[in-house]
Symmetry: C3
Subunit: 378 residues, 3 copies
């Protein structure tokens, strides 16, 4: 056994070469989730409880620099059955094992070129690592509207216009059918742009909870616009492929996000608005008949705020509302969440729990869900 | 290249942090198996040989402590196609990549709380790692009756009543449909209890072969009782899901194990009895017609004994008998095994070989199987 | 974070035990590919461009020695969806995650015994790691005729007859249905022999490009002969399984390779001829009717040559021709490739690009393919 200078939460292996030719951080994550759910009927009150256990996420992560500190890499692998599901003819009928496989090159001043598969510059909640959330999981706005990961190139840039003000820009060109696709490009490419403003200086704007207990208010605003040319899936680059009787239904889909995060003296607040539109929302065959698929157009809004006590216990409230044009696929109207987290070692070792009241559409019973999650991130 | 204080068989990486905030052991295993099989007919004697090669097991293992030595973790991943098979609608149609993903917390004195996915406290042969067996593989009693892995929580405890006597207890609450399930809980939960007695003190009671050449006799006795409430699979938390014309056939299944292991002066002996019962063994539709599925009720007994010579060559004999109530699915009646192992570096580098005579049911030809296995565990 | 003596391109972890009981090199690879393709019609000229992105390869590799430097091991895992595709009933309907799982034992003088799953001693282009190619990818001769990986044993040997002359021999016995099979052996075994002559001494004969800028001409000649007894797949141990109405169509398939590689003052040249024959090429049912499957018999030839400039930019030309007996499955007749590579850190960090003109069979339009690939090998 060897002694290491490394400490908990910074990787299982964390090395830098003496000749500065590379660095490597190899870490692993496990997330165990316990869920209890009850239907609530107007007539009969609480229904029977459904309880289940899940290995929600398990991941291996590799990151560092190679050859020069200006060239960084990241490889993140999903291990849990939830992480890797999604085998289809479009990805060789195989598990979707790779989350990120990306190289980032700081080729000039504040410019960075990314190549490979990674998250697109979409909504903030999505870009925050699932291991750095202040909630048990992301909101329904994210699950309905996010543009997730894809393969292609991105250009990132930062400007310092004066004072502490920071402006960040990102543009991306991607294949447009999501991660792990091996079947080549169908339809056209996907173009994304994102602009971020941090008027009061840099802070942990992609991490939940205010561990730094910022002594001055910190704010980050983001706006993203995504145009997926001739998209073939119901949620732009994810969701069901819209098959027709002689191929794919192709339509231009745009997704728009505005988001903000604020931190001050242990308070953390985040809000996010998403809107999706399509040239033609209802998929049709060549003869004009409906195929039954439809682009999930509409909008959603999420707002949440928490306070971190000195003992690293955090309370949090969240309100989410969804408004899809297609009422049939919408299901959820509103969700109210009350969360409680104990951060033992920040986001590296924590227990999170929440209770969610969900108001369903179409006359369905409402439901109440209790969740208890344990996160371990070596 | 770096020099490491670590030695062969103790992981590829084996580190402890200087500030004692974590330790990590990352190891890998490969097991290659060559098999020859012959049918033996009463009339025609030996049939043609069937020979095949297999990468039987290949694994990555991560274990250590995190934050405090009282909080330990284990993540074990299967890599070989045999290890990861079992994709179904119940696990997201994905390979069953994760074997163990568990965190163990020694929260008070001799009490330890386990959470996540790992082996249930069932029969000894199952809990012994496949890499620490003194045989080429586990017995048929194990494959017919074991309760394998599941997701949930376990409480482990130890008592020292006096002398060298050790008593170990474990209770477990699990989901009850086996490992890697993502479809939530069907039917009820699974409850397991295990009691172990070590009257002559601690020893390597979960490792095959007596490498310590114990100078005084050592014995461990174990008894496990498992109750799977409203189970839906034919072997409790494994086997076929019992589908009916409008859902699942649910019945309470109990599994009972008694086992013992003994070591003394190079001798190692192990015995195991298993019994499974069900409230209703034959699955029926709502109208009472049989679905064709049946719980694999019945019993089995395995006994084996070996002697380890000074040159680390071990000879071993094994007798296994199976007695299922349902003769159709039973197939095997008795199996006689003669094994020979050469332990180059204990269980970390070894060659194992055996010859098995299997007496089949239903008038089927008996068969003879020769196996040669190479185990490498870095 | 720890300081390491290791340098970029030599693994993420690269250690040797102080007591010389093991060494371990753990490395990772990512390969991102961008492709543009145009059909070229005699009448209409260039067709529309098809552009796509792909995570072409991503791998984890473990290698080193264990117990004694004479016992070496290699475990290589595929991660990308392209790498792991190929789930079938023959491998437990699971991704083919393991590429190599092999142990090599130098048991006597120049003799080495290999056991497990790894590449068979077939054509040179195949045995060269996909990460050490001087082209974006291997030629069509390789994809049509190679004998890839299988499970079994190999015996390797070297002779030094005098001067710098080196003779290498390898013989192999394998299961004969390819890698990751769990269904056991169908048909007979596969036997392979390979002889290599290096008349002017050792050099990097299994690596593309002449980084050593050899000051004297270096040459390696290879010849392989493979006999797959009662083979059941259309390309010997790969390709479609030839099913009949009552089992498998079995026929003896032979594959023959001659190859050469030459390096001198930055010039690298490689040529390869392959020929496949079968006892009966057309699969038939028991009653003699054709099943529709046929062994891919015929021959192919590939030749390529490149020059590495002092700035580590390489230009390369390649010509490939395929001549299958069965014109229907052949498709490609000839392919002309012009390649350009920039080796930043040899094969560990490189950008490779090529343009391929492919002359198709059966009156199909020809096509032009442009590829840009980035390789990162920590």
């Amino acid at each position: 056994q060897d002694l290491t200078e490394n400490t908990f939460g910074k990787g299982l292996v964390n090395v830098v070469a003496k000749d500065s030719s590379y660095s490597a951080n190899f870490s692993l994550r496990m997330q165990s989730l316990f869920t209890s759910a009850w239907n609530i009927s107007e007539d009969d009150g609480f229904g029977d409880v459904e309880a289940n256990f899940l290995v929600r996420r398990a991941r291996l992560k590799f990151q560092g620099f190679a050859y020069t500190p200006k060239l960084t890499y990241k490889l993140e692998l999903g291990l849990s059955n939830r992480d890797i599901s999604g085998a289809s003819v479009y990805n060789g009928d195989t598990p979707r094992y790779i989350l990120d496989a990306v190289v980032k090159w700081n080729f000039y001043e504040n410019f960075e070129l990314w190549a490979g598969q990674t998250k697109l510059p979409g909504n903030r909640e999505r870009i925050i690592s699932s291991g750095s959330l202040e909630t048990v999981d992301r909101s329904l706005v994210n699950s309905r509207f996010n543009i997730d990961r894809d393969m292609g190139i991105q250009l990132h840039h930062e400007i310092y216009p004066g004072g502490n003000f920071i402006i960040r820009e990102a543009i991306s060109i991607a294949q447009g059918e999501g991660r792990n696709v091996t079947a080549g490009n169908i339809g056209g490419l996907q173009y994304t742009g994102r602009l971020e403003l941090l008027p009061f200086g840099d802070f942990a704007d992609y991490t939940g909870a205010d561990f730094a207990r910022e002594t001055t208010p910190k704010l980050a605003l983001g706006i993203s616009y995504d145009y997926n040319n001739n998209a073939v899936r119901t949620r732009s680059n994810s969701g069901t492929y819209m098959l027709t009787d002689d191929g794919f239904f192709e339509t231009d889909i745009t997704t728009f996000f505005v988001d903000a995060i604020f931190k001050y003296r242990g308070i953390s607040a985040m809000a996010e608005y998403a809107h999706r539109a399509a040239d033609e929302a209802f998929a049709t065959n060549a003869d004009g008949t409906l195929t039954g698929d439809a682009v999930n157009i509409g909008s959603g809004f999420n707002v949440q705020a928490g306070y971190l006590f000195k003992n690293n216990i955090q309370i949090l409230g969240r309100y989410t509302t969804i408004d899809l044009d297609d009422q049939v696929t919408q299901l959820v109207e509103d969700q109210y969440t009350l969360g409680l987290s104990k951060y033992i070692v920040k986001h590296k070792l924590k227990v999170q729990t929440d209770i969610n009241y969900t108001d369903l559409n179409l006359g369905l019973d409402d439901n109440l869900i209790y969740r208890l999650q344990f996160e371990f991130h070596l």
